[in-house]
Amino acid sequence: MAPNRTKKNKNKKGRYGVAEIKTLGNDLLSSASNINNLPLLLNFVNPSSPPHHLLESLLSLHSFFLPLLPTLPSSSSHAADAKESEHQSHFIYNAWLRSKFDELVKSLLEVLVSPRQQHEEQEAVKEVVLDTLMEFVKVANGGRFHSAIYHRFLHSIVHSESSVEFLVDLLTAKYFKYIDVRYFTLISLKKLATTLKGKRSISTERVIHNIYYTISRVPPFENSDNTSDLEMWSRSENEHKQPCGDVNADDKQVKPEKHNNSVLSAAKIAKKMKLKFTQAWLSFLRLPLPLDVYKEVLVNLHQVVIPHLSNPVMLCDFLTRSYDIGGVVSVMALSSLFILMTQYGLEYPNFYEKLYVLLVPSIFMAKHRARFFQLLDSCLKSPLLPAYLAASFAKKMSRLLLSIPPSGALVITALIHNILRRHPSINCLVHWEDQVDEGKGDKATDEATAANSDDAKVSASQKLGIDHFNYGEPNPKKSNAMRSSLWEVDTILQHYCPPVSRFALSLENDLTVRAKTSEVNVGDFSSGSYATIIGAEMSRRVKQVPLAFYKSTPSTLFSEADFAGWTFDFKDTSEIMHGSDENADKNSGKRQRVV
């Protein structure tokens, strides 16, 4: 019967006005006899129907289903319950209602996810639909949170073809403040992620995007002691006993058990929240993330995720994998890894070797360099690092000075400054004791060894100018940095950029005297760029402006003497030459005096 009617209605649908829908809804609500209006109205809940119709029908349907829902049997369990129910017909009616309800939910989800053009109306409609849906979620499962509907909802969001940002934002703003909504979001996201893991298709990337968008918006659970101020979306035990009151007596007895077993109180959820959060994230991170998501995850991981995980060390697989990738990704992974190592006792073998390899010129142009430099500084903070390691870092960074922009040079100078100050043993890199002093020391030793060392010295002095440092060597142990000297620092004393050469001068202070020197805050320089340096130069007050001096002002802008390999011929030379005025000549004679 019903399908026939719906077909008819579909044909006639165009003829229904808003008022008619309203009357249909009113009829439905006023008496059970008009129950046949239900499928009619259901037809209007459709992504392709006009929004006004949709809204109107939705309103009536909403108010129709809401009181009925707690009494409806769940769609899966109806077979078991069927025999026990008193009236067969009543049961059939309920089952029918149930199917209609399922139909409604399905079409609601379709509406929510459907891409549409008219934005404002669309958004309003979506908001109403979302509210309705969430009401259903709240009530449908006998007053408990209906996780199945919610899961379907999230599933449709995640697998949606169109942009879901609006929807997720709406969800975030309205419902993520409820702890159970969050809780079930995390659970279903975890399920979604794990189901996705095996598959590989073109759409996975988009799905992962969507998952990330949703999961990154789930606010982490703040571990507050006061559980009473945690809001629940579905009603708590005490409250929902009343709506259950008019249900059969048998149910009443069953329910307390159920509450104890499965229904979650706020306190319980709060306990489990952290675990679910961790599980959701971990299963998400196991997915093959596309690069942009990957970077974003890495950037946010240490602030958003790590503090709220039950056991952050579980991230170490993910992080070490990313750290091993190299390049920008490992630079970004460093910050999270650093937190794991410092706060959660993660041990990472060959950490410094990998950090050493990361030092390449391109990181000085990378986007997230500021954080990296600060981390680099704190990684090298320990005075317990072996001297060879500190020397290798210092030397490699100083070699980088020869190829990086001035902002990077400032950072490096600061880093080297700090390293030199922390490790007095590598100050031979910047200050090499004279041979005379060594000779004095040698006097004590016997003559034979003195002769030997003299020979050694002669051979050494011939090679003194050669830099033994091996730039390409990835292992700091073998880089020979200790036998080198930081000539590059001396070179950038001649740097064209005034702040750089000025700052490099500070390395001339004796940093072994710790009392008189202080560490440089790398953070002051780490976010530097051309913009900041030029900005600083521009914001200096112009006090005086010296000018170039010419005995006679040059007549051409470009001369070939200055630009080797270029010519500056132009065809129309004749134009200038002819017609030089007597005045001009006279002036040029006079001007020299003025100048």
Binding site: D562, A564, T567, G579, A584
Partner: protein, 877 residues
């Protein structure tokens, strides 16, 4: 005590009397033992002379009293007497003179006396004063003598005697008078003395007159004798040898002396003119010329019939006919009549004329250049204003009105700014028109070649206040005329003369800079004009350095903003445009009077397609590096400019051949900047390295090199790899490259590649030379050396190029070797000289007994420990 000593000494000097007195005194002093002081001797040493063991104070005192009695007391007593003591010092009685004046008079007198006394000294040169005082003495006499000695020998003796007598007389007189005066001072009264003196002077006068008469007589007689003698035969026979001997006499030395006598004394020259005066003169000169021009213009009506040869003047007689040339600067033909009228009439009339003028010229313009009406109207107004200004200046003394007009102009300018900023399209039209104008000169020339001369420019030109005015001024001007106009503008408004001129010139500077920028952005570059514009810009920045720097800084900022935009979103010019317009409106609020902003507006229209600098930017950067010194440690303009250039090199992607050409040009510009200061610039080196890598056949081999790691950011392709043999390499022409469209086929030709490589290697050589002193030279250039080796071994390399590469590699190698042998490890820590240990005993304040003051802390603690142990042990016992 001192007194007595002195007395003794003086007494000793003053001979026997004093001794006698002393004896007397000592005999007297012996009577009174209280008057003497002596020190007792313990031992008398034989023959020892001792001084001052007895001193007699009382004696000395009494002696002194005695002396006073003889002198002072007498004077005192005489003071009441009727006879007056007269002070005959010079000027003492003259009350008009102050003390200083008196002193001067006295010293003068003293000097004169000294002069007279020292007159006989060898080196004394007679002074003018002396000559004046004694006209009768040597100077005059000698002249006569010289004159007369030549002709006559006989006269010599006579003259000699005469001279002697004269000298004698002269010498006698002062001595006599002095003696007489001396006597008079002693005996005679004042009146008597005066009488005597008068009598004497009279006598001398008479004597002098008599002498003179005698002298004249003598002279006459001599003359007579000489004439008679000269006529006689005897003299004639004698004369020749005589004259010969006379002629031979003056030798070189004498000549020199004479010459020196005749030589002009050095005189103070005319004062050197101050810059202000020079400026004033220049302006006056121009004004003069302008006046002349106007006069000629008026007079030509009369003279036109006379000479048609003078076609320049003839052309001015009917300026209306010269439609294309007419800038509205022509003055009305009835001006001569106006000059006779009152100034109000004139202004009124002129207004009418202006109206008619502008109408007419409008009409003409619309005929000529249909599209450029707006600009031309502006020009008319501008020039009319200028005319008005002139007239006001001529006819009124007050400057207030002028200022008022200026202000109005500024207001107009403001309005126009707003207008232009709102309607970019309108601006576009103006730009278009100006472009047309730039093409016009050629046409104009063609027109005026036939007999008609180029138009004459006004001599006095007010400084244009915005770019439109400048455009209208420079309409149809040839390059030389443009420069002339600019020079005249500068001279008409010299900064040194008036305060408001400074502001005018600042505005004009901004406008000119903008004009320069606009010209540099034109696609067929007018290089000649740009070159010529450079000179006045440089000179003007010397006059207003601060303003020039501000202009440059603001431009650098805007250029950078554009650059950053283009890097962020390549190919999105519209957004860029909007943002810039926004920034302009923002800026205009800040600096409403600055015309600089106009430049920005007009430059946006030619938005840069690639992020590499445009021609305009390159030209501006070059201009600034010429205006300002490059070697300063920190310069308000050059430091940001260099940073900007380096940022270009570091951040722009190398996509096409043009990119690499522009980049290497930037490198060579930086080289010219750093040549003097030898500053290290990593960006330029890295870029050159990248360019060389681009020339290599395979990139893979450089994967580990430092530069490559950076270059992955640049998406480097082998753009410069030479595929086929190239026969000849011509140096790159910068202007051609800048004129070329981006996707021109030239950039993929092997000829182009080879010439870019040449440029790159030349620049590299420059850097090698400049950086040879840097201590990490080997580290900088070793990677480049490797690439160079690889490139030179490629098969298609032209010979000339391999030669060049070889040279550079040799140079680099030599320098690296030098560094490897000479370089020493760093010794950056400045070691202070260790002070010598002080061995002074150290005193402790508040010393407590038993406490350990050992400066060696460890030892002290050890001791403390030992003591503790000891006490514990003793306690235990």
């Amino acid at each position: 005590m001192g007194k007595t000593k002195k007395n003794k000494k003086s007494n000793k000097n003053s001979g026997p009397d004093a001794i006698a007195m002393k004896l007397k005194a000592s005999s007297k002093g012996a009577d009174n033992p209280f008057e003497s002081i002596w020190s007792r001797r313990k031992f008398d040493v034989l023959g020892q002379k001792r001084k001052g063991d007895t001193r007699r104070i009382g004696l000395a005192r009494s002696l002194a009293i005695e002396k006073r009695k003889k002198t002072l007391l007498k004077e005192y007593k005489q003071s009441t007497k009727s006879s007056v003591f007269e002070d005959k010092r010079i000027g003492e009685g003259d009350k008009a003179l102050d003390e200083f004046g008196k002193a001067i008079l006295r010293t003068q007198r003293e000097r004169q006396l000294n002069m007279k006394l020292s007159k006989k000294s060898k080196y004394h040169l007679s002074d003018e004063e002396d000559d004046f005082d004694e006209p009768n003495t040597l100077g005059l006499e000698r002249d006569d003598f010289e004159d007369e000695m030549l002709p006559d020998d006989d006269g010599d003796e006579a003259y000699e005697t005469k001279r002697k007598s004269a000298l004698g007389l002269h010498m006698q007189i002062p001595t006599e008078t002095s003696v007489a005066e001396g006597e008079a001072n002693k005996k005679k009264t004042h009146a008597e003395v005066m009488k005597e003196i008068i009598a004497k002077s009279k006598y001398f006068k008479a004597e002098k007159a008599k002498e003179k008469e005698e002298k004249e007589e003598l002279l006459d007689e001599l003359d007579r004798k000489f004439t008679s003698l000269s006529q006689s035969q005897a003299l004639v026979s004698l004369r020749k040898p005589n004259s010969n001997s006379q002629q031979e006499k003056p030798d070189e030395y004498d000549m020199l002396v004479k010459q020196m006598g005749l030589e002009m004394r050095a005189r103070p020259s005319n004062r050197i003119k101050t810059p202000e005066e020079i400026a004033q003169e220049e302006r006056e000169h121009l004004e003069e010329m302008e006046e002349e021009r106007q006069k000629r213009m008026l007079a030509s009506e009369d003279s036109s019939d006379e000479d048609n040869e003078d076609s320049e003047k003839a052309s001015k007689q009917n300026p209306r006919s010269l439609s294309g040339d007419d800038l509205g600067d022509s003055f009305s033909p009835n001006e001569e009549t106006m000059a006779k009228k009152g100034w109000i009439d004139e202004i009124l009339e002129r207004k009418d004329e202006e109206d008619s003028d502008s109408e007419e010229s409008d009409g003409e313009y619309s005929d000529d250049l249909g599209s450029s009406e707006g600009a031309d109207e502006g020009s008319d107004e501008d020039l009319d204003d200028h005319e008005k200004d002139l007239s006001l200046k001529d006819w009124e003394q007050s400057d207030d009105d002028n200022i008022g007009i200026d202000l109005e102009d500024e207001d107009n300018e403001e309005e126009s700014k707003e207008r232009t900023s709102e309607e970019v399209d309108g601006k576009n039209v103006v730009d278009m028109s100006s472009k047309k104008d730039m093409k016009d000169p050629l046409q104009a020339k063609k027109i005026y070649v036939g007999g008609k001369p180029s138009k004459e420019l006004p001599y006095i030109i007010e400084a244009p206040k915005n770019i439109e005015e400048l455009y209208s001024l420079l309409d149809n001007c040839s390059i030389s005329d443009t420069i002339l106009v600019i020079n005249r503008i500068r001279k008409s408004n010299p900064i040194t003369l008036a305060v408001e001129n400074r502001k005018k010139m600042q505005v004009f500077y901004g406008v000119l800079l903008q004009y320069f920028a606009v010209m540099a952005n034109k696609k067929p570059l007018n290089v000649g004009l740009l070159n010529m514009l450079g000179k006045p810009l440089i000179e003007m920045s010397m006059e207003i350095p601060y303003f020039a720097a501000i202009c440059a800084r603001r431009r650098i900022e805007s250029i950078r903003k554009q650059f950053v935009e283009s890097i962020k979103n390549p190919g999105k010019n519209e957004i860029q445009l909007n943002k810039i317009i926004f920034s302009i409106t923002f800026y205009r609020e800040l600096y409403s009077c600055m015309p600089v902003l106009h430049g920005l507006k007009s430059t946006i229209l030619v938005a840069e397609s690639s992020s590499w600098p445009s021609t305009k930017t390159l030209f501006l950067l070059r201009l600034w590096s010429m205006i300002f010194p490059c070697s300063d440690f920190r310069h308000p303009v050059m430091t940001p400019a260099i940073l900007l250039m380096c940022e270009y090199l570091m951040r722009c992607r190398i996509v096409s051949g043009q990119d690499i050409a522009i980049g290497s040009f930037l490198c060579s510009m930086l080289l010219s900047v750093f040549r003097q200061s030898r500053k290290f610039c990593p960006e330029a080196i890295m870029f050159l390295q990248a360019a060389l890598i681009a020339a290599a056949e395979s990139n893979i081999s450089h994967a580990d090199s430092q530069a490559y790691q950076l270059m992955e950011l640049k998406a480097l392709k082998p753009v410069l790899c030479i595929c086929e043999t190239v026969n000849e390499i011509s140096p790159l022409n910068f202007f051609h490259i800048m004129d070329m469209p981006e996707d021109s086929s030239i950039y993929s030709s092997d000829n182009f590649r080879a010439s870019v490589l040449v440029a790159v290697i030349e620049t590299l050589q420059g850097y090698v030379e400049v950086y040879e002193g840097l201590s990490s030279f080997p580290e900088i250039f070793l990677p480049i050396l490797r690439i160079l080796f690889e490139i030179s071994e490629q098969k298609n390399m032209p010979n000339a190029l391999t030669e060049k590469i070889k040279d550079v590699t040799e140079l680099i190698k030599a320098n690296i070797d030098k560094h490897h042998t000479l370089r020493r490890p760093l010794q950056m820590r400045k070691q202070k000289p260790v002070p010598i240990k002080l061995l002074n005993p150290k005193f402790e304040e508040n010393y407590v007994k038993g406490r350990d003051y050992d400066p060696d802390r460890e030892r002290a603690q050890k001791e403390l420990l030992v003591n503790c142990v000891k006490t514990i042990i003793s306690c235990l016992r």
